[in-house]
């Protein structure tokens, strides 16, 4: 490595890293898409207190929240094929990317299910009753009344997850995926300008996060357009807490019948 930082290398590597942005975003998008579906499925047994499934989803969530992502990647990469052998499915030719996406999807699924669970709890029960009172079925009330509001409430948490997920994809290179970080490690083998390469890499991650944050914030504002646009929007956590307080106050106010 040279005596000082050579900015021209930073530029060069930045440009040469750009083609790998695609694979990184692919992992993020696929894992969040699948993770959302998994999260929804896993949240349901706990929301509706289905005996055995509720327990299972708890175990799943605490496992994926309680172990490092890198270990989860290895466990799924080496463990899943063994598991699948039991049902005589041969996955030795399956691309590594599939395992990586599976690991990230299961990982974010655990966090998404928690976010959904909390958000559904934050939607005030009275609106569900109002839905029943106008003749909705339980499913209609959930889909038309609870879910849209829960998604809006969960949006800030989900936004954090997207950013975390983007940064976490840097671990995928450990299984040999040539995403951004993997690429950044191979680029300077000739020049030995590793620092410049990592600098370019950090810059790229930062720009990607920044764009995603802006976009997510807009989406959040749009989903919450029915709530007054006051200070609570800039710190969504406070808004949620206030809303929950409000809901609790409402519960206390109603007569004996409302509490079950």
């Amino acid at each position: 490595m040279g005596a000082s930082v050579d900015v021209s290398y930073v530029f060069e590597y930045f440009v040469r890293l750009l083609p790998s942005v695609g694979i990184t975003l692919e992992i993020v998008a696929l894992s969040l898409l699948i993770g959302s579906a998994v999260g929804m499925l896993v949240a349901l047994p706990r929301l509706y207190r289905i005996p055995v499934l509720q327990r299972l989803s708890q175990v799943y969530v605490s496992f994926f929240r309680g172990t490092p992502l890198l270990i989860q990647l290895f466990l799924i990469y080496y463990g899943l094929p063994e598991l699948l052998k039991l049902v005589h499915a041969d996955v030795s030719r399956t691309p590594v990317l599939v395992f990586v996406v599976a690991a990230y999807a299961l990982h974010s699924g655990a966090f998404i299910s928690e976010a959904i669970r909390a958000a559904v709890g934050a939607v005030d029960r009275g609106q569900v009753e109002a839905g029943y009172a106008i003749g909705m079925t339980g499913f209609q009330a959930f889909r038309r009344i609870v879910l849209p509001q829960a998604i809006a409430v969960a949006m800030p948490v989900f936004g954090n997850l997207v950013i975390a997920n983007l940064k976490d994809t840097s671990l995928a290179f450990s299984l040999g995926i040539m995403e951004l970080t993997g690429k950044a490690q191979t680029l300077p083998t000739m020049s030995q300008r590793f620092f410049e390469s990592y600098l370019a890499l950090a810059l790229l991650y930062f720009i990607l996060s920044f764009i995603l944050q802006k976009g997510l914030y807009r989406l959040e504002r749009r989903l919450l357009r029915h709530e007054p646009a006051d200070g609570s929007a800039s710190s969504p956590a406070k808004g949620r807490r206030a809303r929950r307080r409000e809901a609790a106050a409402r519960l206390n106010l109603t007569e004996e019948g409302a509490l079950r």
């Binding site: 005030d124 009275g126 609106q127 009753e129 109002a130 839905g131 029943y132 009172a133 106008i134 003749g135 909705m136 079925t137 209609q140 038309r144 009344i145 849209p148 509001q149 809006a152 357009r225 029915h226 709530e227 007054p228 409402r250 106010l253 109603t254 007569e255 004996e256 019948g257």
Partner: protein, 250 residues
């Protein structure tokens, strides 16, 4: 048209409804009065099964539920015959005033969107909110929200509208606007059951008063008769407490 027979309901060991019988004819406006904790709100919520009675029979029009063996389908039909106005309004917060009123028409009654929109706008006009069609609940005052709630109930064209203390959560200066809307629709001959603490309003708008205490109906009667010469001792005590002398004479 509405018949409740021997409705019983317990929360844990406490029996809050001790076998209520109530019949309401088409076009009647029944006001249910009583001290807090007397079970009047619970009774109202039992009528559309937001609260599950332990036993008894409920009938609204041609929809009947045997509370000992309720089926999902029967409950659904019962709710289709009734509408409710809540103390805390319970508007759908992510929908505009117009969408709140349309929701039941479109989703439950399968009315085409355009027609639902037209009818809903008319109803909001009727409750004095023609200028607030696109406002979200968070942008409306309590009185305005409750009027949207009333329009939402009216839209379904139900056999009966159940009012659960519709003005109890309102600031005093907003009570009037809501009461005048209820008065207006009462005159149109819509069947209503109102749980309220507004004595003067009940006397004026109701065709019959039902007085409840401790989970039972104590006394029923015409408003004038009920307020002038109550028969039961508990009714007398209650009315005495609710009159201004009783309130201010500390």
């Amino acid at each position: 048209m509405i018949a409740l027979k021997q409705i019983r309901k317990s929360f844990g060991k406490q029996e809050v409804l001790k076998g209520i019988d109530l019949a309401v004819e088409k076009g009647e406006v029944v006001a249910i009065l009583g001290p807090s904790g007397s079970g009047k709100t619970t009774l109202l919520r039992c009528i559309n099964y937001l609260e599950r009675p332990g036993s008894g029979h409920i009938r609204i029009g041609d929809a009947a539920v045997d509370c000992g063996h309720p089926s999902k389908k029967d409950i659904h039909r019962l709710r289709g015959r009734s509408a409710m106005v809540f103390q805390q309004y319970h508007l759908f917060r992510h929908k505009t005033a117009l969408q709140n009123v349309m929701e039941g028409l479109v989703v439950v009654q399968n009315v085409p969107k355009e027609e639902a929109r037209r009818r809903s706008a008319e109803l909001l006009e009727k409750v004095g909110l023609g200028a607030k069609l696109d406002a979200y609940p968070s942008q409306l005052s309590g009185g305005q929200q409750q009027r949207v709630g009333i329009a939402r109930a009216l839209a379904l064209n139900p056999d009966v509208i159940l009012f659960d203390e519709p003005t109890s959560a309102l600031d005093p200066e907003l009570v009037g606007e809501v009461l005048s809307v209820i008065r207006k629709i009462a005159r149109e001959g819509i069947t209503m059951i109102i749980v309220t603490h507004e004595m003067a309003f009940a006397q004026e708008v109701a065709s019959r008063i039902v007085f409840m205490d401790d989970g039972a109906v104590i006394e029923e009667g015409e408003p004038a008769e009920f307020f002038r010469s109550p028969r039961e001792e508990r009714t007398k005590q209650f009315l005495k407490r609710m009159t201004p002398e009783g309130v201010y004479n500390i």
